[in-house]
């Protein structure tokens, strides 16, 4: 009888939006962005196509919003690194967190890599990504020096590439990938005192 309060509306909006994004992520990740139709998403989400456009301006906007959300997690993760004394404990935490994030939402990271390789979409994030990457370099450089690597810059690049490559392999076969072993090996390798 009484009309819904704007808080109620807000909540409905928020929840449904989240729901659509989750369904979309799953489908995008599973079949790829282009091979997933709005019809399919709507059907899977149990809503009409029209409603989807009530929440997202376009299919691309939906994708970007999904990416953005995950991106922010990534940002938080990287930017949370204490820049003053990057020590073994920080490195251990960073590696552990990287794998945790990956394991937490492999479908997201599959989508992330898909989009990364699809020209035209990721350009928007290039700057952001470059910034956080630069931040990591700055922060960890002293650490890599302290670890006794001859060429810390190269080492950082290799470290980053290694993380990317491992992520890729995990994404492609999450069931068979020995995540724990690899994580521990990485921690061992990058956090133990070098002889």
């Amino acid at each position: 009888m009484s009309p819904r309060s704007s808080e109620q509306f807000e909540q409905i909006r928020h929840q449904k939006q989240k729901h659509i994004m989750e369904v979309s992520l799953r489908l995008f990740g599973a079949a790829g962005y282009h091979s997933t139709s709005i019809s399919h998403i709507a059907k899977e989400a149990g809503i009409s196509k029209g409603l989807l456009y009530n929440y997202f301006d376009s299919k691309e906007a939906l994708l970007l919003q999904i990416l953005d959300k995950g991106m922010n997690t990534l940002f938080a993760h990287y930017l949370a690194i204490d820049p003053r004394h990057f020590n073994r404990e920080h490195m251990r935490a960073f590696i552990a967190k990287s794998f945790a994030v990956l394991q937490d939402n492999p479908v997201y990271w599959r989508l992330y890599f898909q989009v990364l390789l699809q020209p035209g979409v990721m350009e928007m994030y290039q700057d952001k990504l470059a910034r956080i990457y630069q931040h990591f370099i700055t922060v960890s450089h002293a650490y890599f020096v302290h670890m006794g690597f001859k060429n810390p810059s190269t080492e950082i690049l290799l470290f980053g590439a290694l993380l990317d490559g491992l992520s890729l392999q995990y994404i492609l076969s999450p069931e068979t990938f020995p995540l724990q072993t690899i994580r521990d090996e990485l921690i061992e390798r990058y956090c133990s005192p070098q002889t």
Copy 2:
């Protein structure tokens, strides 16, 4: 004007087919498979849409043929490894060849990764890929043991991931990536006698 022999026809056919594949690879790599239309390919290749279908059964078949061709290069590369005595020289050659292949045709590898993450296409190659990967493991295992790694299996996995990650980074910014430096560093790291 003697009629052309069927060999000549065959060769012309082959040439044109190759041309179409090259054009397609360029466009697929630049804009992505789904965002590249048959019309665009035909126009760019200087032929009609109809003729393209004379050479390839479908857009997907065209993609697969492109992938297949590059795949065979990859296979040749991996399977050429002499299985009997995989020594430093082999490893050095393998790494060098890997980077050479990458540098030779980055657009192909961009497409390769795109497809790798796009489910449904790569399944056809999973077996093949698994086989050559297995071959590399078998062949290099003794080498990694000999190199003194505590856990050679893990080491091989890391090595593979590192190559993947570096490839990815090179593909994403071929101009700024220090290919030579990294290649030499890898050779240094994996082919020098461990202290």
Copy 3:
């Protein structure tokens, strides 16, 4: 706090209805009927879409009600002509009023002409329009005769067309159109004793 009387409710209702119609007219005039969405109208009017449907049965009904309201002004204008002695003073007043009406609400007249040319809507008013047009002919015929035109019927037709054409031009560029000059010229031409 005594409950508002039903008259007060009625008045509020009437006010809001009028407000919606004004907003709609403005938007219809500015972007055209089809290019103006109910959502846009509701937002611009500061109400919800649902409430709009409380006041008007449909988008078309809203349009018709707007047209109707303006139409009645037109009717009043034409039918107010005293049929008995249509003299120069009447003609002067008629012309002056015509321009005043135009100047008063050019957006309405733009919409009017839009709809006039859009088949299907104006059919409802064809009869009404024909009747008032006929009324004007009847009433002014003697006047045009008296003015000394050889062919009064043709003259009336030309006079009507001239008014239409001038209205059109005014609507299309209200800022640059020399309304006063033209009005005075028309009065001069149609109300002065012909030599």
Copy 4:
């Protein structure tokens, strides 16, 4: 057996394009641009929706091409006026041609006025229209002076408005409009020596 020559293709293209434009003009004129769907046009033209997009980039492009074609007729008509000695014979021809053009394709002129009142489309032609209108003013000014009008500029404006208004009335009821009578009356009025 033998492939079609490019002339044949050219001809097919040209004829079909023309056909589509004719059908579209008829439907646009009859029901209005927005109320006419591409589906409807395609069905009426006996082709598939897809083919229509082979010939026209978009629905709007189709409209513009239709308008453009008619516009060029108009331009030719106006700009053909010999600027040196605009005499009675020219005026008579001009008026006669105006009515002929109107009678020749009333549906086009209905669409023309529709679009004229629909903001956003005609802006593209504003310049062109302004130029030809200016051309007519320049050319006919001396004539109107010679005709003995006190205020030739105003007279030209009235003349233009009269033509517009008559066109409008003719468009709205082509069957009952006394085209010949009006045309002759106009010629009489604007081409006879003023007493």
